[in-house]
């Protein structure tokens, strides 16, 4: 158990700069998720924390001790790899015990630890098997067992569930969360599955092109994205981005919107003060699909609401909701409506737009206004 402090870490391979100044302060026992598109540097950052890559500049500090120059084995970190990286020539027992044997633990202690980990992960029956005789889910458990047996200061998970089928992935996700609650060890976890990110994390770091775009709790990142990239990356289906103009309407700054030829105004929520100063300028309105729904009568009095009739282009039923595509300002917009209330493509239906959680971005930079 330990805190982890990453101080202005840069990493370059020749002329290619992968990490461009990463700062993270991770408290003891936190579950941190790194997300980002392929090539954003999240795996490189993991390797730098583990010591498998040397940082070009910057410091890595574990438990108030500078380990920047330490070998991987001296950092007391365990890692679960995407490919599991089980030793093919050893059986499950040996795989789990390997790290303990190298650390010259007494035989009885190794026996006991392997047994405890095997019980915890329910792999006791598999201890005599070779990795090639295990299913994907079983291999995943063994890889976790190998990490758990060491009882390290920090766990690193590099997309551990991405090779599992959908059902197993959800099961293992829950198990990892349970495990973390039980052990309380600091975890840094890389994924590109944003549901994994939302459900597991204490805090999420969204990365892009070697920079951390935002580092905050899942709800912060979801509700209060730092920029258009973060807003578009988190959430599925992703946030709608609509180009629109800020106008003065009866003495109040509003958003001018046009749907199927009809013009109307959308209110700007109280907290978005910056947009009010941009009257006459074009901005990008970010609004999540669940903020545009069918009309819910009991909410209709709120000041941030607007109703609009729009023609449905496409519907995508997901079971719980029906995703409905309409056009606003001639741009496609996804709405999330109740399945029973959803119309058919070609129909016109009344949508309720809730601007309460709407966010605004600068047209050129994509930064939050």
């Amino acid at each position: 158990m330990a805190n982890l402090y990453i101080d202005n870490v840069h990493k370059s391979f020749g002329e290619t700069h992968i990490l461009k100044g990463i700062d993270m302060d991770i408290a003891d026992g936190e579950f941190i998720i790194l997300v980002g598109p392929s090539g954003c540097g999240k795996s490189t950052l993991m390797n730098c924390i583990a010591g498998l890559e040397q940082v070009t500049t910057g410091r890595v500090i574990i438990d108030d001790e500078d380990v920047t120059q330490s070998m991987p084995k001296d950092r007391d970190i365990a890692m679960v790899f995407q490919s599991y990286a089980l030793y093919p020539n050893m059986n499950v027992w040996k795989n789990i015990a390997f790290g303990l044997e190298i650390r010259k633990l007494p035989k009885e202690e190794i026996e006991e630890t392997v047994g405890r980990v095997a019980d915890l992960l329910q792999i006791r029956d598999l201890l005599k098997r070779k990795p090639s005789q295990l299913s994907g889910g079983q291999r995943q458990r063994v890889a976790m067992g190998r990490a758990l047996a060491r009882d390290p200061k920090i766990f690193l998970f590099d997309e551990p569930l991405s090779n599992l089928d959908a059902k197993l992935r959800v099961e293992m996700r829950t198990e990892i969360k349970k495990l973390h609650q039980r052990l309380g060890t600091t975890i840094v976890y890389v994924t590109h599955d944003q549901i994994e990110a939302m459900t597991l994390a204490n805090r999420i770091a969204v990365m892009k092109e070697g920079h951390i775009q935002q580092f905050g709790t899942p709800q912060e990142v979801y509700d209060n994205p730092a920029n258009q990239f973060v807003a578009g990356f988190m959430g599925s289906p992703s946030m709608n981005f609509i180009r629109c103009q800020v106008v003065d309407h009866q003495g109040d700054a509003t958003i001018a919107m046009s749907v199927d030829g009809k013009d109307f105004h959308l209110p700007i929520p109280q907290q978005e003060k910056g947009v009010r100063e941009r009257v006459g300028q074009e901005v990008v309105l970010g609004i999540r699909p669940e903020q545009i729904t069918d009309v819910v009568p009991q909410q209709e009095q709120a000041s941030t609401l607007a109703n609009v009739d729009a023609e449905i282009i496409v519907t995508e039923p997901t079971g719980a909701d029906t995703l409905t595509l309409i056009r606003m300002n001639d741009q496609e917009v996804n709405c999330r409506v109740h399945p029973a209330r959803a119309g058919a493509p070609g129909d016109t239906m009344t949508f309720m737009i809730n601007m309460d959680k709407a966010v605004f971005f600068d047209l050129a930079s994509g930064d939050r206004i």
Binding site: L52, P72, K73, Q82, P88, N89, F98, I102, Q133
Partner: protein, 293 residues
């Protein structure tokens, strides 16, 4: 519909029959020299002298094998037969194969998992060794061996074969190791294993198939080598290939075909044996772990 179907079957069977006939004929053609060598080696000279050279044996004896092994006079050498040459070959081949295979494995391990600045250039330069014609290095290597005092000795020949074999073994191991997942080494590093422990405990146990390939290749190359064996040896350190050549050339009147044939087979047996023994492990290595561990 059914008629058409059976027609196709007949044409398929005919095609197969023709194919197999051709294969059998080619195989016989290919095997005949070996059969003649073996049968001739068991005939005695009278049989060959009065019959045809190519004939089934009307007599059967190990006399020619005994002669070739330990009795025939080769050149002006005091010890008789191929035996001393054969022993020389073993003394050259076994250490040379062992050392070059071990070096190749370590080289391949470093070049695949412990890259350093310029390791790709290093590997590319090393590959030149595979394409270097042996006759091109005869003079420089003779000078080197002379300078370090190993001219005409068995250690000198071992050194020569190791130096020119390492390029091949490194190539084999490196290309095999790059196909292993690099995360294995990372996982072992995090588990606390160092350079040599990872090599012994993780990488080497996975190397059986490529080790068999490297051993077969190196053994065949070194055992069958004639050029280095004749150029860098003294009469006391000549390998069996040179001995065989000398035996066939130092005639004392008539050509004893049966002894020559027996000698040639003796000189070829070890490579055959290595292939038969190691080939079995080769297949075993490839299929290990797929069904049962």
């Amino acid at each position: 519909m059914t008629v058409k179907h059976s027609n196709r079957r007949y044409s398929e069977i005919t095609g197969r029959a023709v194919l197999y006939a051709i294969l059998i004929i080619v195989a016989i053609y290919y095997l005949i020299p070996l059969v003649i060598m073996i049968s001739t080696s068991f005939r005695d000279m009278n049989d060959i002298r009065f019959g045809h050279l190519i004939d089934l044996p009307s007599s059967f004896s190990f006399e020619a094998w005994r002669m070739a092994w330990s009795e025939v006079q080769i050149g002006a050498r005091r010890q008789l037969g191929l035996r001393p040459y054969f022993i020389n070959s073993l003394l050259i081949t076994i250490p040379a194969v062992t050392i070059s295979v071990i070096l190749g494995a370590v080289n391949g391990y470093v070049l695949s998992f412990w890259r350093f600045k310029g390791s790709n250039i290093f590997f590319a330069l090393l590959l030149f060794g595979c394409f270097l014609p042996f006759q091109a290095i005869l003079l420089p290597q003779a000078t080197v061996l002379g300078k370090i005092g190993l001219s005409g000795t068995i250690p000198g020949l071992v050194l020569t074969h190791v130096v020119y074999g390492v390029a091949f073994t490194t190539l084999f191991y490196r290309n095999y190791y790059v196909s292993l997942p690099g995360e294995l080494v990372k996982a072992a590093q995090l588990d606390g294993a160092g350079f040599w422990r990872i090599f012994w405990r993780i990488i080497l146990p996975l190397s059986t198939p490529i080790t068999v390939v490297a051993v077969i290749w190196q053994f065949t190359q070194i055992w069958n080598d004639f050029l280095f064996g004749v150029a860098f040896s003294s009469p006391q350190s000549q390998p069996v290939t040179v001995g065989l050549n000398n035996m066939v050339n130092s005639s004392t009147g008539e050509v004893r075909y049966n002894v020559d044939m027996a000698g040639a087979i003796i000189a070829a047996l070890p490579t055959l044996a290595v292939y038969v023994i190691a080939g079995k492990y080769f297949v075993r290595g490839l299929t290990a772990g797929s069904v049962k561990g």
